[in-house]
Subunit: 360 residues, 4 copies
Amino acid sequence: MIRAAVIGATGIVGQQFVVALQRHPWFKIVHLAASERSAGKRYREALRDQRGAFQWYCDEAPDSAVLDMPVVDASALEGTEADVYFSGLETEAARELEPRYARHAAVVSTARAFRDEPDVPVLIPGVNSDHLHLVERQQKQRGWKGYIVTQPNCTATGMAITLKPIMDRFGVDQVLMTSLQALSGAGRAGGVLGLDILDNVIPFIPNEEERVEIESRKILGRLGEGAIQPADIRVSATCTRVNVRDGHTEAVYVSTRKPASVEEVRQAMEEYAVSLQPLGLPSAPDHLILVSDDPFRPQPRLDRTAEDGMATVVGRLRRDGALANGIKYVLLSHNTKMGAAKGAVLMAELLKKDGFLRGD
Amino acid sequence: MIRAAVIGATGIVGQQFVVALQRHPWFKIVHLAASERSAGKRYREALRDQRGAFQWYCDEAPDSAVLDMPVVDASALEGTEADVYFSGLETEAARELEPRYARHAAVVSTARAFRDEPDVPVLIPGVNSDHLHLVERQQKQRGWKGYIVTQPNCTATGMAITLKPIMDRFGVDQVLMTSLQALSGAGRAGGVLGLDILDNVIPFIPNEEERVEIESRKILGRLGEGAIQPADIRVSATCTRVNVRDGHTEAVYVSTRKPASVEEVRQAMEEYAVSLQPLGLPSAPDHLILVSDDPFRPQPRLDRTAEDGMATVVGRLRRDGALANGIKYVLLSHNTKMGAAKGAVLMAELLKKDGFLRGD
Amino acid sequence: MIRAAVIGATGIVGQQFVVALQRHPWFKIVHLAASERSAGKRYREALRDQRGAFQWYCDEAPDSAVLDMPVVDASALEGTEADVYFSGLETEAARELEPRYARHAAVVSTARAFRDEPDVPVLIPGVNSDHLHLVERQQKQRGWKGYIVTQPNCTATGMAITLKPIMDRFGVDQVLMTSLQALSGAGRAGGVLGLDILDNVIPFIPNEEERVEIESRKILGRLGEGAIQPADIRVSATCTRVNVRDGHTEAVYVSTRKPASVEEVRQAMEEYAVSLQPLGLPSAPDHLILVSDDPFRPQPRLDRTAEDGMATVVGRLRRDGALANGIKYVLLSHNTKMGAAKGAVLMAELLKKDGFLRGD
Amino acid sequence: MIRAAVIGATGIVGQQFVVALQRHPWFKIVHLAASERSAGKRYREALRDQRGAFQWYCDEAPDSAVLDMPVVDASALEGTEADVYFSGLETEAARELEPRYARHAAVVSTARAFRDEPDVPVLIPGVNSDHLHLVERQQKQRGWKGYIVTQPNCTATGMAITLKPIMDRFGVDQVLMTSLQALSGAGRAGGVLGLDILDNVIPFIPNEEERVEIESRKILGRLGEGAIQPADIRVSATCTRVNVRDGHTEAVYVSTRKPASVEEVRQAMEEYAVSLQPLGLPSAPDHLILVSDDPFRPQPRLDRTAEDGMATVVGRLRRDGALANGIKYVLLSHNTKMGAAKGAVLMAELLKKDGFLRGD
């Protein structure tokens, strides 16, 4: 078994890590770490708020063995206590703590702190698995035995997954995307008030459009000479918030370099969809993409749980008349599953498969 | 006073016509017409359903003088009973009844039955007021003393209003638009169930995208030789339904023919916005467009009532990096005010101003 | 195996029956019956609407073996084709068809058509299992080999389950209940429009309060001399609709005949909760009632899935100061699980256990 | 004109005070006070948050004259700067600052800090206007020239208004009430997250039930010997939060002391409803209570704006079968109009009318 530490274990992403790891066949949670305030308590107790209410935000319940584990102070860990550190830290804390763990161990992070570093991969297994090799350069440059790999922005994830087969077969020139994002993406601290989203749409999510534009080009870029050459795609996004709990909907318009019929794009997506199957990764979906023929799909409530939230569901695939070689579609991606902790666990599975991660 | 008949007076659009007309300085409701089933009742009674509940769907209440009016059978009217017939009929009924009224009188219709006829204008005052002259050809060709003018699809309306000043000053090549449409746009018969839209987005509205693509080109087209030459713009739309009562949000990406800075586009919109003011039309907004600097605007709940729902609110005006000369913005348009009956009343005001409509 | 027919198989309740029965250890679906319009099609096809979209409303998917079954005309069935007929028919159709099947077979119905008949039990396993014996009188009186047993109104279900242990131990004099009911309770035909429930509460559900008042007294009544003596409880309800998908919340105030402390009531509920366990019924929850200490529970979204929707979750158990011996609490009951088809399947399991239902 | 200061002017209640006072015929805003952080800025600037967005929460816009006013530090005011201080402070701040102002001036407060003091009235004009005289005792006891009067809890308000005519004519013994409260009642700081209320009901609002039970008895109590004898009514409440923006719905069950028919109760309500009319108070509704015959009313979205949110709308008035002399109904009260600042302004109008408040 590979020893796993969950950093930021009391937060939403940390809880999702616990759910994704607690019965995992390859990983075993050996440490739950959080802020000093929680340190020393049992996990069960650390999850209670001041008034004693149990603050658990996932649909799946935590196992009682996990609830009995002690919580340790994240800033007291050295990187030698586990083989892999799953980090759900906020940006600032990540910037400080993740490099410390990386001196000795693998760090798999959902934080955006290091995503733009040239030697840090922003990984989606099956999309840019080869970017993993960037960690060799990272280790050499930084003198670390471990390394940091990062999970992309949840809105970039579904878009990159669906663009990958199109790019590989036809090339992609332009991408225009409008997102209708779920409330869970905003988290709890500073989350969207019921008052503000009821009977409403909020047409702006700070920093989100920039993240989508930067990260999608990096993810779809080419690894060469130890550095990533961002994909030569012009990307433009408008990111909005709608009154949906989980599941980001994205309306995507793509201009391909070579002409492609709707049927050819569909076929490219479906052939690509099974590409993770041969690896036998426990958290991988059978299909990275599911293409629906029902014009009323994908819908967040009906499709977000497809393949336990790990499949990106595509619908309304059709011709676009405004772009050259234009294709358009709507996708749905589960922002707190494939787009967050469970996606990061899948990444760790790939690390192990490719020999970047070992147990004792 | 100009004598007005409201056709389909018990339906939602008909009720909106009543609200827009009941204290109007120029128009006087002389007939309320509906199906045979309602004929002979007072309006007050015709609005009650089987269980006796009063079915009124507008925020503004009907005046008691209107409630006391008798309802007549729309199919018994000949076109001689009023100067203008405001029609909120469904497509099929409109196809049958509107031409009958048009033999003698002006018909102002929200139905889509005749919108694609080459001699029927799809009008937005201030955008394509000159298309009015098409009715001269219509009368000649069809041998009518009256005519039919139509209100565009409510999703096309806000888009066409905001494109007009851009097109006039810089030219428009491509438009890609994703809409987040309100529930009231689906009406009541066959409307969206609470079950289906709660915690959800529905990514398809039958026929809507085609309407937007066809009508926006016609509205922005040029009147020549008695026919309209559709604008040479490539338009592509994705229309979705969100859990909002009123107000369509649209994320728009535009490629202009001549380069235009964000500031220039804003200035074009603001200068254009006041163009209806000199006409003194009672239902016209002071500003056809309101441009907001707050990046979190427009929001349906906060902005749909701007200028009594007659202004299109634009926000997030910024550069787009995917299109040549790309500009992008988000707009909000009130689909049951400017996009429906009150917009149609504004159209009738323009008809009167330009001499196409007279009282006795 | 016991041969089961699902009547009204294409409707919502029918689909729920399919989900509850398709992998059932005791029952085997041998017929799917619906209206003449669907007869002759495969189930898979009968579930498609005019535009070809697949109309499936349960979270759990139907098995492909079921989807391949042919649909038969419900009015062509005689009652000899199966051992038990699960009926999700509307009231009128139930009144006509259920007696026909009951001449030969057991009919387990969610319809309200026969609930008020003196010889027809309204059953909740664990609450009034002994009322089953009423079918002996029913068979004798009506000359049937089979019989009809009915599932109560979904709002009465959770209330009766929680009142049962209180009544048994302390007696109940008065019950005042206000419900906050989910949208799925209104079904799809004639269901609540999104327009009408967004940002709203609808304070009336036709017939619902009467059903709760009548049925709860019948369920909690005593079987004597082959007839049921309704419980001597004064019941008063206010039933409202709120913007929740599944799960009825009910605020209950109870006046007990003997004084009872909050702790004693809690203990009575918890001891009673396990009463179905010894029977080994496959669909029975481990706990008919789950009592929560968190004052913010039960919540529909968090608690409706407890024990697959078969447990009634009680919270906020506390003293009431207005009634004599007053106790109050809030309960949550899953209206389309325990309150509908899966509850009816549980009832059939009890019928089998008690010898009222046999396979070949 | 009477000089008014608004304390806590940048908060939600403060903004509502501004709206209710800015064009008031009797009051003139002379000071806008807030925390030290806002002091010294123009109101227009103090309403902007860190990112520069304008934080205004009322449907009605502030006048530009008000926006131009300077904001002063509430803790620097002495009580001599205005004739009346409208306080929308939080409990702690109110406890400190309100007595200071009351040494010299009238304080009309929505805070709960002093509501339980025996010499402080909790006032609803038209319900317990005579409780005003308690301020004479308050002034004498505390040695103040001014005084504090308080606005009740918003959930108690609608209940007390509707109970008053019943109590006066028939006496009231028991009241059981379940509320379905709006999100705006929870305010913005610590408000309910969209994530938590979407597709949900929260069955607990800390302290709310106690407030309703205590305050309703005080409001309906009798003023004697300078002290208030709480009404001898047994009150029990369950307070829940639903996904509604504004407007608290309450299902009320009442046991009267003398028998009363539904028609008699209705008549009592309607006769009482007009009792404020003779006073000519500018903010008073024409009808304190509006009784609806439509069984589907009151609904928050349709009825909360009745008489600008100052009328309590009652529907579903009917017999209750569980209580002795039982009557039940559903009411709707606008929690941020009659239940908050505008109700407090109405209270100040009563103070003036009765000679407790004078300008220079």
